[in-house]
């Protein structure tokens, strides 16, 4: 299982507001352990994840997930890859308001054409794995920041995706919970046969990672 970005360039904005963020970036990620992408704010960590997660199409270059070039797919095809092959945890706003923890997970079943009712047991199992079995009926506003991120993690793992992308997981989480969440991510990366890339500037996460990719050095090398 590999993810390879070849000569990837992303241009945000147009005209005067044009902003070249990744400029001919080459980087490769593999499964078996957590990879942290670090770098100062604005260095392009989120952009890198978005390109890898088929959310953002680069201006040029290739994004190869197990041989498929995500950059060459059309909009509908990329949406399909996102829902079927990629787990994504955003920095915040991961959960649907008013939906219970179980329903957050079952939404993935719905989006991929499965009958949510048949997958309740699996959803509860995933919640138990992130330590939230007792919170299955709770809605986002009844959960702490760390608990919300754990629900998002459980949801991302619903289809056992080959690629899990995590953006600043500990940004909205208190210190105690940050450690627990990092532990869960490391455990996931080791247990599942899945590439786990975590963008972070939190040393707690970076220290726990098996491999650290520094945006400053990557972009320096490519220019």
């Amino acid at each position: 299982m590999t993810l390879r970005l070849e000569d990837v360039t992303v241009v945000h904005g147009k005209g005067d507001a044009e902003n070249r963020v990744l400029d001919g970036l080459d980087v490769e990620f593999a499964s078996g352990g957590l990879t942290a992408v670090v770098g100062p704010s604005g260095s392009g960590k989120s952009t890198l994840l978005a390109v890898a997660g088929a959310l953002l199409r680069p201006a040029s270059g290739r994004v190869l997930l197990d041989g498929t070039d995500l950059a060459a797919l059309n909009d509908a095809q990329r949406a399909r890859i996102r829902r079927e092959r990629i787990g994504y945890m955003f920095q915040s706003g991961n959960l649907l308001p008013n939906f219970t923890a179980v329903d957050q997970i079952l939404t993935v079943a719905h989006l991929t054409g499965r009958r949510p009712g048949r997958h309740r047991a699996r959803a509860e199992e995933l919640l138990e794995a992130v330590g939230l079995a007792h919170r299955r009926g709770h809605r986002p506003e009844q959960l702490s920041g760390g608990e919300r991120q754990r629900v998002a993690l459980a949801r991302a793992l619903f289809l056992d995706p080959p690629l899990l992308l995590v953006d600043e997981p500990t940004a909205a989480v208190d210190r105690g919970q940050a450690g627990a969440l990092t532990g869960l991510l490391v455990e996931t990366a080791e247990r599942q046969d899945c590439i786990v890339v975590v963008a972070t500037h939190d040393p707690v996460v970076a220290d726990a990672a098996g491999r650290v990719v520094d945006m400053a050095r990557l972009t320096a090398m490519s220019t």
Binding site: A76, A79, R80, R82, F90, G93, N94, L96, P116, A171
Partner: protein, 371 residues
């Protein structure tokens, strides 16, 4: 369905509010439709029942023809001589009287030749006789307490009309109809109050000539020659007092309701969709297909619009039952179903205005991080 119904449940207050507005609009559309049909029946059901295809008025009468037009026997005979046309004169005027037992009667006097195709078919009692002075009353008059055997005395003129029989519901200009021989009608139409019984014989004139013409008959030439203006029976409805005005009033109310319905639903879903942009962006980021999000919004709209329209239609039907026959209200099932379909269509059309915003939610906003 999974997302659509859960969101509906989560925002049930807002959806209920919008639903109430649609319920009221649908009820209003149903009630106005009921009055449109009911008032229309009340104005022209006597004309609708006429077994004629056309009505020839005098050429100088352009509006309110039944009141203004006068034709003579020569014109009627001239029409009768036309090839492929059956013709019989008719008289229409509105009068009032009371029975010997003191029941007041408003009466649209229809003068017909008892031997012609216009003679009313009776449901009870006997039909009109040539020569005599009897009247065949429509059911509404019987419902008001007038019976076969009573005598209606026309106010001020003192003309006495024995009630011979009862025919079905029939009214003209909101007044129930009494059918009588042409001679009797002419005495009512042309007599001067106070001179009753004494004066000269009334002129041999009628309101119009009822025609039965085959499909291919060309009536223009005869109109020219006889100095008449012929209208198809249904066009002649406009000649009844108040008919056009009523139609225009009721139909403009309906038109406005049909414009309001999609705007209300459209405005609601526009606000709802804008509020939901963050969730829609999240769903897109999670890989939701555009088609699925569209279906999900349409299911929500259809659920609310259809359910509310049905409730509203039920209210309109209930209002119809409660009003009974006291007011001119008529809401047959076909009209009711038409109402439901039209309000639903209008509501969903309103939703369609907002669908573009559903699919254009930008998943990249999820990267922002500070929500």
């Amino acid at each position: 369905m999974f997302l659509a119904l859960r969101e509906l449940r989560a925002a049930k207050g807002r959806f209920a509010l919008m639903g109430c507005v649609v319920v009221l609009i649908a009820a209003l559309v149903g009630i106005v439709s009921g009055f449109t049909t009911g008032l229309g029946d009340d104005t022209v059901s006597a004309l609708r029942r006429l077994p004629a295809t056309h009505i020839a008025f005098s050429g100088d009468a352009r509006t309110d023809q039944f009141a203004r037009s006068l034709v003579d026997s020569r014109t009627a005979a001239g029409w009768g001589a036309e090839k492929g046309v059956q013709a019989t004169p008719m008289g229409v005027s509105i009068t009032r009287g009371s029975t010997g037992r003191g029941v007041p009667v408003d009466l649209a006097a229809f003068g017909v030749d008892p031997g012609s195709f216009l003679a009313p078919r009776v449901e009870s009692g006997a039909g009109l006789r040539p020569g005599g002075d009897g009247v065949v009353i429509s059911r509404q008059i019987a419902d008001d307490g007038v019976r076969v055997g009573d005598t209606i005395v026309i106010d001020r003129l003192g003309i006495r009309l024995p009630v011979l029989g009862v025919t079905g519901r029939s009214s003209y200009g909101h007044v129930p109809v009494g059918y009588m021989p042409l001679g009797t009608w002419q005495r009512i139409r042309f007599s001067v109050p106070g001179a009753a019984g004494a004066g000269a014989a009334p002129p041999g004139q009628y309101s119009a000539v009822a025609l039965r013409a085959g499909g291919g008959a060309v009536l223009g030439a005869a109109d020219e020659r006889l100095g008449t203006r012929t209208l198809a029976r249904d066009e002649a409805f406009a000649a009844a007092p108040g008919y056009s005005g009523e139609r225009i009033t009721m139909n403009s109310i309906l038109l406005f309701l049909y414009l309001i319905a999609p705007l209300v639903v459209g405005a609601f879903f526009a606000v709802w969709t804008v509020q939901r942009q963050p969730e829609l962006a999240l769903l897109r980021a999670l890989g939701a297909a555009r088609r699925r999000l569209l279906a999900h919004t349409l299911v929500q709209a259809a659920t609310v619009v259809v359910a509310s329209t049905l409730v509203g239609a039920g209210l309109a039907a209930g209002a119809g039952l409660a009003l009974g026959s006291a007011v001119p209200f008529s809401l047959p099932l076909t009209t009711l179903l038409g109402t439901v379909a039209a309000v639903t269509a209008a509501g969903l059309a309103g939703t369609a205005l907002t669908l573009r915003r559903v699919t254009s939610a930008d998943p990249l906003t999820m990267l922002g991080g500070n929500r």
